[in-house]
């Protein structure tokens, strides 16, 4: 079964083949469930002109925000990007392009992309700036807009545990966009807290089947918290 062993031993190997001007889909919501090691590797590689598809762009100095420091990102496709000053600065300077996409539409674009569906109709965004230039079609008397799906040259994903075959499970709300991102990369890299032997995870509890996954890498995670709020 060695042909199914997806484990690689370094982030260099995990991100091998990433080139300038590629599209990278990244899992995570805010700083929760982000592929910290893959992002750090992209920074180290200095790859430029990237289109990054991710719900957010991290914060100054952490998460995808670190790829802004050397201007590696050409375009962000996100639903909410308000958390970093560097982002704002590069956007206002015209150094960075942003395509704001409703959060559910973004998730569905990834899901559809991974599922071989090139586009779908949704009511979300009809009559708003999001619908500009998009086809409108009525179904049962309600207007919907046509949204195109997204695939990436790479998908970078953070899972809790994966087995050597790439079967993954996620922990709590660190799941978020990760399962959809995993399906939508030509090369999908999953970094995990723990690599286990096949058979350890209950087959019926797998969130992402290994067929979507190309490379599994053991990560180390800071897991920074964006808004620490406690009960009074």
């Amino acid at each position: 079964m060695s042909g199914f062993d997806k484990v690689v031993s370094s982030f260099e190997a995990a991100m091998e083949g990433l080139e300038d001007n590629m599209t990278v889909i990244a899992g995570g919501f805010g700083l929760c469930g982000i592929p910290e090691g893959s992002i750090a590797q992209i920074k180290k590689m200095g790859t430029k002109g990237l289109t990054i598809v991710s719900n957010n762009c991290g914060v100054d100095g952490f998460g995808l925000g670190i790829l802004l420091e050397d201007k590696q990102i050409k375009k962000m496709i996100s639903s909410y990007v308000g958390e970093n000053a560097l982002f704002e600065q590069q956007l206002l300077n015209g150094e960075l392009e942003v395509e704001l996409t409703p959060q559910g539409t973004l998730a569905e674009k990834m899901r559809a992309g991974g599922a071989g569906i090139p586009a779908f109709y949704t009511a979300t965004g009809y009559g708003t700036p999001v619908s500009e230039g998009k086809e409108v079609k009525e179904f049962n008397g309600r207007p919907y807009i046509l949204e195109e799906s997204i695939t990436g040259d790479f998908a970078i994903v953070k899972a809790w545990k994966a087995d050597r075959y790439g079967n993954c499970i996620y922990r709590h709300t660190a799941q978020n966009f990760n399962p959809m991102a995993a399906t939508a990369g030509k090369i999908t890299v999953v970094e995990v807290e723990e690599i286990v032997e096949p058979g350890t995870l209950d087959p019926a509890h797998i969130h992402t089947p290994g067929i979507y996954v190309d490379r599994v890498i053991q990560g180390t995670f800071e897991k920074r918290i964006e808004r620490r709020v406690t009960a009074k």
């Binding site: 919501f29 805010g30 700083l31 929760c32 469930g33 719900n55 996100s78 639903s79 909410y80 990007v81 308000g82 704002e88 956007l91 206002l92 704001l100 409703p102 959060q103 559910g104 539409t105 973004l106 998730a107 569905e108 990834m110 899901r111 949704t122 009511a123 979300t124 965004g125 009809y126 009559g127 708003t128 700036p129 999001v130 809790w160 922990r171 709590h172 709300t173 660190a174 799941q175 978020n176 966009f177 990760n178 399962p179 959809m180 969130h207 897991k223 920074r224 918290i225 964006e226 808004r227 620490r228 709020v229 406690t230 009960a231 009074k232």
Partner: protein
């Protein structure tokens, strides 16, 4: 007297029925969770992928993998479920969430809402708001009736870029409860001590006042 933020939240919570699934936006809507009436259970949906959101954690309970849509640390109640963003928005877009409560800059008589973008200011994004207003069965907007300069936020036609069209049916402000239908705002309740005249004065869009308008009742 105009209602406080907590009083608006209290009035919002009166709308909930036992067994409702509810998504609460950031700000006043979130406060409504504190005022769910006795004997009523609602389950809170957080669009990052949590159904059955609980209270904030204690120091010991804090878990970086457990956050809400506002990116705050949170807990899950007994009987909660956790899922992907695609699943989360399937239940939102598919009309399975009973109530969405969110804030707005403007609402108009055709149920259009503007809540995410002020041209000339930095645009941060719509997050999940467009999906939520397109999908929920009942959407309640909470906001102050007028802005701090006294300009009405209840308009004949929204002036800001829209979040959704023809989707808002109920508005709860610091002055009134209004229903949106047939191209008008229908005044249903007044805040205690607030006159119909004051509400008329602060409502720029077409307002229908039919018969006696009762004051809101707080238990």
């Amino acid at each position: 007297m105009a209602l406080t933020r907590d009083q608006i939240a209290m009035r919002v919570a009166q709308e909930f029925q036992d067994g409702n699934y509810v998504n609460l936006g950031i700000g006043i809507p979130t406060l409504a969770a504190n005022y769910v009436p006795d004997g009523i259970s609602v389950m809170l949906q957080s669009e990052n992928g949590l159904l059955g959101m609980g209270r904030y954690p204690t120091e010991d309970e804090i878990d970086a993998d457990m956050i809400n849509a506002g990116k705050e640390t949170v807990t899950a109640i007994t009987g909660a479920s956790i899922f992907s963003s695609a699943e989360s928005f399937a239940m939102i877009r598919g009309g399975h969430v009973d109530f969405t409560v969110l804030g707005a800059f403007e609402v108009d008589v055709n149920g259009n809402i503007a809540s995410w973008m002020i041209p000339g200011k930095l645009i941060k994004g719509m997050g999940g708001a467009m999906d939520l207003v397109a999908g929920a069965k009942n959407i309640i907007v909470t906001m102050t009736h007028a802005d701090k300069h006294g300009n009405s936020k209840l308009l004949q036609e929204c002036t800001l870029p829209l979040t959704g069209v023809n989707c808002i049916t109920r508005i709860i402000t610091d002055l009134a409860v209004l229903e949106v239908k047939d191209g008008a705002f229908y005044l249903r309740e007044r805040a205690p001590g607030v006159s119909v005249d004051e509400i008329k004065e602060k409502t720029a869009g077409k307002l229908v006042v039919a018969g006696e308008v009762p004051e809101m009742v707080f238990a």
